[in-house]
Symmetry: D2
Subunit: 384 residues, 4 copies
């Protein structure tokens, strides 16, 4: 892929599903400042449909509703209303996202979803834009093997597809792990404890009585997502036949990278935005890189998104902090608009090889920003 293939005069019409929700609001803020994506349609539940956006949204962002969106009329999430959109961003809740996204794809719409429903689908790439954009190459295969969601008959597509991004807590881990694997080969074991922000739970989400002056050492389903999604994202993309090699236990021996054994504990802490992860890793082939070598690997980690000229790609995919008490959510989550990942406290681990602390902005790179960057990558690769 040539550098700077992101088209200079790019202009794409965009729709947002689940526009009144937490992730949807974030999409709207991002798109209001985007150089080449123009928001033209917004969808939400039938309860909101027909009202203007400002009438039905409970806006919770620290910037006002963009003027151009205030009076926009909310539509139901049916594909007919969104014809003409080049790109659909889905911030839908998981209880409705599955079917709606399938119906949009079947109508030849390009869907970039933040929901978990299709992440495990073998045809759907699960893409952290700073990590595995090559998995987007599965899209032509996805189109060719498309089956209509209601008739269940084969129905190849020319434009429609679904791309998902990862869980917010997975995303922050995948980026430094990719940097380490590039430098030192496959990771085989991981310890991770997360201290996750309340915004990860949506709105109304976490009751204040549960989290003020408190830690909840459990987030339903979250540990499984981390353990499973990392294996897909960091898996190899094999192009003949097009397939993502998931690094699970049964990995054939002739593949370069075996399974990642992840032990995750996820907790909720009284922080608004920004997931902190305490991480230790070891490498499959016994590599024991020094902390200095790891810092070097983090710092030199470049991304295809940046090389291709994607507008939302951060200058530093990984920003390494030297101060012993960083990164901190409140101080570091907005650096580069939350599009990169912060790493600090890189040091030896008495049990596995190396340990460090990761901070990622769960509502930016951990959610809406990833979807937007995935769409930019798809544009740069000529898939949209």
């Amino acid at each position: 892929m040539d550098p700077n293939s992101y088209p200079k005069d790019c202009f794409k019409k965009v729709g947002v599903l689940g526009a009144t929700g937490t992730v949807g609001q974030r999409f709207i803020v991002l798109l209001s400042k985007h150089p080449s994506f123009k928001l033209i349609k917004i969808g939400a539940s039938s309860r909101s449909a027909g009202k203007t956006y400002s009438e039905c949204v409970r806006w919770k962002q620290s910037v006002p509703i963009p003027e151009s969106v205030r009076g926009m009329v909310v539509q139901e999430c049916v594909p007919e209303y969104f014809e003409g959109c080049d790109i659909i961003f889905s911030g839908l809740d998981a209880d409705v996202a599955g079917e709606i996204e399938l119906s949009f794809r079947a109508h030849e719409l390009a869907v970039f979803s933040n929901a978990k429903n299709h992440r495990r689908d073998e045809q759907c790439p699960l893409v952290v834009p700073l990590v595995n954009p090559s998995h987007l190459d599965l899209i032509p295969h996805q189109r060719a093997h498309h089956v209509h969601p209601t008739t269940q008959k084969s129905m190849p597509l020319s434009k429609g597809f679904i791309v998902t991004n990862a869980n917010c807590s997975t995303t922050g881990l995948a980026v430094p792990f990719k940097a380490l694997e590039l430098a030192f080969g496959p990771i085989d074991r991981v310890f991770v404890t997360t201290l996750q922000a309340i915004s990860g739970g949506g709105y109304p989400g976490v009751p204040s009585l549960d989290v003020l002056d408190n830690v909840v050492p459990y987030i339903s389903g979250e540990e499984e997502k981390i353990e499973w999604e990392l294996c897909k994202i960091l898996g190899a993309f094999e192009s003949h036949p097009p397939k993502i090699h998931h690094r699970q236990a049964g990995t054939p021996e002739n593949l370069k990278c075996g399974p990642i054994h992840v032990s995750a504990t996820t907790t909720r802490v009284p922080v608004l935005d920004g997931h902190t992860a305490i991480v230790s890793v070891s490498f499959a082939d016994g590599h024991k890189p020094t902390p200095e070598k790891c810092v070097e690997a983090f710092r030199k980690f470049g991304t295809e998104a940046r090389t291709l000229g994607c507008p939302s790609a951060p200058a530093e995919a990984i920003h390494v902090h030297d101060e012993p008490d960083r990164p901190q959510p409140r101080l570091d989550r907005y650096f580069q608009d939350g599009a990169g990942v912060n790493v600090g406290r890189v040091r030896e681990c008495n049990v596995l090889g190396i340990k460090f602390v990761v901070l990622s902005n769960n509502v930016s790179i951990g959610a809406a920003t990833s979807s937007v960057m995935n769409a930019e990558l798809a544009v740069a690769k000529g898939l949209v």
Copy 2:
């Protein structure tokens, strides 16, 4: 030791050093309700000396200053003022505790210290009362080999000694680890991430600008304390010659328990009281007990403190929670007045054998309550 050897009609006169500080205030609350310890002297810095307690303390407890202490005159921390005390509790800051405690011991006073200064002293037991009260048997040896702090001459003691308790974050770990070692043999590797309360930093301690809506992934010196202190507390007490076998790397092979390799990361979270620890462990001899077996080991773990009838010993040294989202600091830190330890989420670990969550009240079992219970143990054992 016979059960219930704690004397029924016990009455001991008590002094508190560092009485105006965070730990000192906690000592005063505990002693105001204690059945056999009576507070008669309080000491603080020369700035406070000569004033009444209520004049010089910035009281931060949720119960009022005990009436009997309000008008008590604060003394300087010199041993002469504290003659007649059977027991001295030290809540002094580390920058002054070292010398003052030595001078008190040299004056034949029995010092139970919450400060870190003498924890690494080979002659001083480092006792978590629910874990290693047998280490108190070092006291006669400590007395016999006492050297005067200023003259440096040998000066055997008949009553004086120093006993320290552990760092607040170490204490919460040592209790379940002891229960596991009793059931399954020596632990060899430990992963721990702590989410520590702000009260662990004293007063004024952690600035609110550092911790509101934030996590600080670093507490100076804390990780080293956990890694080192666990090896002393869980080390074997050898009685001929009296010695505590520290489980460090150079452990001779003929000893039953080798070193514990601990990888600790300590963080500060916006919680008032109660340290949460996310823990994984493996056993030296390859034991892989099921979660159910571990829960059983936690539940049946009995303590010498309870057997001996110590008034502050909790009915349950370890309370195991069955709900998936417990223990939580706000809900569980005051159970049994914070004298026990809470454990939950006991489950298999993909990397080491078993993992679980620990919650301990850092100002109770993690600090003043441990000192008080250590003193009760010393009384029961006839050492005071």
Copy 3:
């Protein structure tokens, strides 16, 4: 009424409605320690009915569920199940409390309600137990004029009645206002700004995203409650015919106390328990008592609840703090188990006569404790 008329050997059987909710949980904690009330029945929604309490409650208290209640089977809130109860405490939500409480009264049950539904009913006393227990004298009149809720026919009662307690924020104001009116005559104007705890909103209640690092300057319906309820609680009880004189604008001139003009603004702050109120008052007849005189009035304020020997009545109805930075929710809300009211910063006001700060525990004296104390008063007065 004679002092100490609370019967020494009192034993009353008690039921709690809405037992799984926030206020219901608090009733259960209080009753587990009560010397003369024994909990025998618990009611909740049909969703919970038939299950044991521990199965269906999301317990949020810092003490465990009382052992005697864990296995108790939850009933639907129909009066037949609660026959045999001398006292019913209602912690029901307002959307169902109205009809259920009427049906319980019609079944000759004595209902003490924390809900707002019947507070404005002319037949129902609205009682802050430290302020206006004389309003309970309306009960015989309420019984005599009882109308069956469904048939709408007259149906005098011999035992049934409904007594309500006030909104949590009103309660904290009524106590010091009563003390001031006793000393200096009727109050005519009041400024009050409240800083209310999140527990006032129930569970799940206030979303954490709304209140962490934030203030919400509005609580729906709360300002109206304060402005209206104060006028009823501080109104005169006229015994022929039995009637509560509400101090509204149209007060006839021959009555001793005219209307109270209250300007209230209520806000939500990130505090778990304890409502703070910033208050200024002026007196109808131009009295301008000094701060010292007001402090004296607060300190000497005695309550009928205490005189009668009610077990839950606090020793100090009003505790006045001398320190300039008190009362504070975290430090003062648990004093006397939250059964009294804290006052501080009593000083001159540049606009009205006098100003001060009030702190009251909204889940204790502001809710369940008030209902319990009201029931104790009814027992002492021979009404139960």
Copy 4:
């Protein structure tokens, strides 16, 4: 004064005193984005002098230290080092600001101070830039009557002067009060309760143990500042002889505006940035404007700073919110970069005429932004 008199090609060299402190850091962030002020010198205590900025600052902003400042060498706060600066911003602490600022003025430097020391000086304007820029006209008079701080001899100045800005909590009140006075004449009585952010206390400032899950109903000296400063800021500027008419009790009757009687209670709440104020006001001549009229007055309030084209002047000096639960610190404090003031809940007051809620960003318009805007005003008026 002509519109747009702020010079298009303006370029001023700037120094910052107290550059490592909370307000100093904010100055540095603002100046790094300023179109016409260029930071060339930074000063701090002798402890920091000689080090680079990044070596000695404990940076607490959510954006990184500007690259151009990282390596800048910190100077002691002596005027010789700052020769060549057109403008000096002082973020010094009050314990040193008084003398240092005098010495800078005596060296013909133009000082814009955030410290309280010279606010009550009759020669020094106390300027809220959105309210009383006309008070800057006192500067020539200040210069003419300058007395050397050490020799105490008359020493007229040609360039030096001191302008102060107001306390952070005063500033937020002065803006809507000015709008109301312009529309309805002098305000005579004010009730205000503030809920102030912790950043108002500097760093380390408020201990977390004092404010987490808590409200502190007292901030030392703050209520007096509000009550006094409002009277100076909203006082009339009389030009012959140049003088600021402070609206105190002894106001001569022939002056248009009499004293403002302010009753203030200031509290600290667990909010990072943004002071909320609950306000009621009445007018001297008995005006009782409707809420609608007040909203209109707020919305049409224009500022000289905007008219003159000052780069930091907000488009809306007062932004009125229509939603009943706004403004809120977390959602509204960053609107217009915190350079304007937010008002909401405008409604009738049962005691005084009108009440409303004000939110102002205490670190922006409440501190550094005000100083910067004052300097811009001085530039536009040809005083720098």
